[in-house]
């Protein structure tokens, strides 16, 4: 089925995507590890704003990063796989940093302190903190891997071809979703294998995690080489943020241009907000129902369950779209086809798995004792659910909501195929204008998205600090 040329392409794509995933997580983890090695005051004052900004950059499409870096790279004749990898790492660094922060935050203080009384801090980092944070780190890596596997637009800019280009070329030629599906099978198989591997690896790790906070302790003392790497990772963050920002601001030229782009895109803005809010809300509800079952499932069923839940992540976006169109454009489906519910469904298929992952982690961390006491004292189930269960799981709910919200805002491949006529998202508009090369307009819209996400990020940060979820 696959020729030598395709095999080489396939292997190179795996190498490129795995490399991107690894770099994203290494830089993210190094930067996030300062949670344990810096004094908290330094963290709060200097690094938190940097981290928030860096994470919010997830709203800037990789293509915008690519264009900003391409200006620089072309000047010095830098191209090829390395250049493309660097740009993807820059674009996905928010994923790496976000998952690493989550992972390091999950490590209970008591676990670390118990280790510190017995062994060197560097060994505590290596043998205790990293393994406990590993499920989150690996999840971030799979995520970056899958994203990279499907995005051929960035490599194309640096004259590199990857396997998904082949899939699209096939699709473009045949207009038959079956053939590209066959071609994408190897990719889906590899992605699924990685998911299985990681689910089985993290099975042990996820057990027995509970949240516990003690007082602020002295930061971990790490060897010089590690501190140097941390500093390099921290320095990369402002580079990651400023390169596209500066490029965007330069292109926008006048502040009034931002206003003009918002005004012109106000309908898309409204639709994007509605779509993303709805998708995120439903995904969270779906995840809430499912995560509890997954967490409580017998361990022999768990692996299968996880693979089923995560499988949609391995499917290329246009296939999700075409699949839904084929399925729902049958007679008698009019109540859903051509309505807002189609893109909601498409985005749920693509991103709800991540909400399940986030909530499962949160559920693992919940104090069973508190839930048990609620079941004794509650007036009825709803009362207990609203007053105890919901507030306890709130940080997880909010993170899951945000992850789905953000990804839905940026989704293109599937949304384009199922969005109701007359409605389009901000991302669809950005990509549309990208072709025209109207950089002012794109820059204005991207800056709008950034401002939007910054304010969302800040609100969520406030909610988190008020519910005491702040480390």
């Amino acid at each position: 089925m696959i020729g030598t040329r395709q095999l080489i392409l396939f292997l190179r794509t795996l190498f490129y995507s795995a490399g991107t995933g690894a770099f994203v997580m290494i830089i993210g983890a190094l930067a996030a590890s300062v949670l344990w090695t810096f004094r908290h005051k330094t963290l709060a004052r200097l690094l938190k704003p940097l981290f928030i900004l860096s994470c919010v950059m997830i709203f800037v499409p990789p293509y915008v990063h690519a264009l900003a870096w391409a200006d620089l790279f072309y000047r010095y004749g830098i191209e090829g796989l390395g250049a493309s990898l660097w740009v993807m790492v820059m674009a996905l660094l928010p994923v790496g940093l976000g998952f690493s922060l989550l992972g390091f935050y999950l490590v209970e203080d008591a676990m670390v302190e118990a280790g510190r009384t017995l062994n060197r801090d560097s060994i505590v980092m290596k043998s205790i903190i990293l393994p406990i944070a590993m499920p989150a780190l690996l999840t971030g890596m799979i995520f970056s891997f899958l994203w990279t596997v499907h995005d051929f637009s960035v490599p194309s800019l640096f004259f590199v071809n990857i396997y998904s280009l082949e899939i699209f070329a096939k699709y473009s030629a045949t207009n038959n979703p079956f053939e590209p599906f066959m071609l994408s099978l190897p990719m889906i198989v590899v992605a699924t294998l990685i998911i299985i591997l990681i689910s089985s690896l993290s099975k042990k790790l996820m057990l027995g995690l509970r949240k516990g906070h003690t007082k602020e302790s002295l930061p971990l003392v790490m060897p010089l080489w590690f501190r140097c790497l941390q500093i390099i990772a921290i320095v990369i963050l402002p580079v990651q943020i400023s390169t596209p920002m500066i490029s965007l601001i330069m292109k926008v030229a006048k502040p009034s241009n931002i206003w003009i782009s918002i005004l012109q895109a106000r309908r898309e803005l409204g639709f994007t907000l509605l779509l993303s809010t709805l998708t995120a809300t439903l995904s969270v509800i779906f995840a809430l129902l499912l995560a509890k079952r997954v967490v409580e499932a017998e361990s022999r069923h768990k692996l299968l369950l996880w693979v089923c839940i995560l499988f949609p992540l391995a499917i290329p976006a246009p296939l999700v779209g075409i699949g839904l169109v084929t399925l729902f454009s049958q007679r008698g489906m009019g109540f859903i086809y051509g309505t807002l519910w189609m893109p909601v469904l498409a985005n749920m298929i693509r991103f709800a798995p991540l909400a399940v992952v986030t909530l499962s982690v949160q559920l693992k961390r919940m104090d069973q004792g508190l839930l048990d006491s609620a079941s004794v004292f509650q007036k009825n189930r709803i009362h207990g659910f609203i007053r105890v269960y919901l507030p306890m799981i709130l940080p997880g709910l909010i993170s899951a909501f945000l992850i789905v919200f953000i990804l839905t805002t940026g989704e293109l491949g599937a949304t384009l195929l199922v969005s109701p006529p007359g409605r389009s998202t901000l991302t669809m508009r950005i990509y549309n204008y990208m072709h025209y090369g109207s950089s002012q307009m794109i820059a204005g819209l991207c800056l709008t998205m950034l401002a939007l996400s910054l304010s969302t990020g800040l609100i969520v940060y406030r909610v988190f600090s008020k519910t005491g979820g702040d480390r």
Partner: protein, 235 residues
């Protein structure tokens, strides 16, 4: 071992959080082989003192000496693992990704788990956890987890053991058995013990030498005079 040599010496120790004084001019000594109990109502600074001795925090003023070596002052702090302490936290804090044996052997430099050091072997038997060695912490009961956590602290053969309310949430029968065990192993392994609790029975069982921490200051309670305990329960 010289029974009368001073193992831990604390000098004019002060610590405050956000302008609230937690510890004020705390001073006391612990001699080798001694078991002492530190009592006090919640929020009195017991855990803060415990964390200062371990080296997880730095004092604002004063010094801590271990075997005549300065380990903590406002300017410097020797890392916790270099203090040769055995520490048992309120929460057993067993690492979920390691089995019981790996948890216990964490402090050992050698990774060779096949040749368990004779001493560790002894500790395992004393704490009655041999059948649990391959199990992961999530499978342990509350009592088992405490025993493993004490074994882990003992395994590195510390000169000084610190226990911060290690028996909270255990039932009376189990608590009694554990107290018995703690008393036995500290005596057998000639370990000096600082035991933090607010439970009168526990304190009486561990030692007659009792310190009471309240309003940031430390008072010695003489043998037989346990009046402090009833006042502890007052707000």
């Amino acid at each position: 071992m010289n029974q009368s040599s001073v193992l831990l010496k604390i000098n004019q120790l002060c610590k405050s959080y956000e302008n609230r004084k937690i510890l004020e001019n705390i001073a006391f000594e612990v001699k080798s082989g001694e078991s002492i109990v530190l009592m006090g109502p919640s929020g009195s600074g017991k855990t803060t003192l415990f964390r200062l001795i371990i080296g997880l925090e730095m004092p604002d003023d004063g010094e801590i000496y271990l075997e005549n070596r300065l380990v903590s002052s406002a300017k410097e702090s020797i890392p916790p693992f270099q203090r040769n302490l055995g520490v048992v936290f309120q929460n057993p804090a067993l690492w979920p990704h390691m089995n019981v044996l790996s948890n216990i052997l964490f402090a050992m430099q050698k990774k060779d788990t096949k040749h368990i050091h004779e001493f560790v072997d002894l500790v395992i038997d004393e704490m009655e956890i041999r059948p649990l060695l391959k199990a992961y912490p999530s499978r342990l009961s509350g009592g088992e987890a405490r025993r493993v956590s004490i074994a882990r602290a003992l395994a590195s053969r510390p000169r000084l053991m610190l226990m911060d309310e290690p028996l909270t949430n255990l039932d009376t029968a189990l608590k009694d058995r554990m107290l018995e065990m703690i008393k036995r192993v500290t005596r057998e392994f000639e370990t000096t013990l600082i035991y933090i609790t607010h439970d009168e029975t526990e304190s009486r069982y561990i030692s007659d030498k009792c310190y009471r921490l309240q309003n940031g200051t430390l008072t010695r309670i003489e043998v037989g005079n346990r009046h402090c305990l009833s006042s502890d329960k007052l707000p």
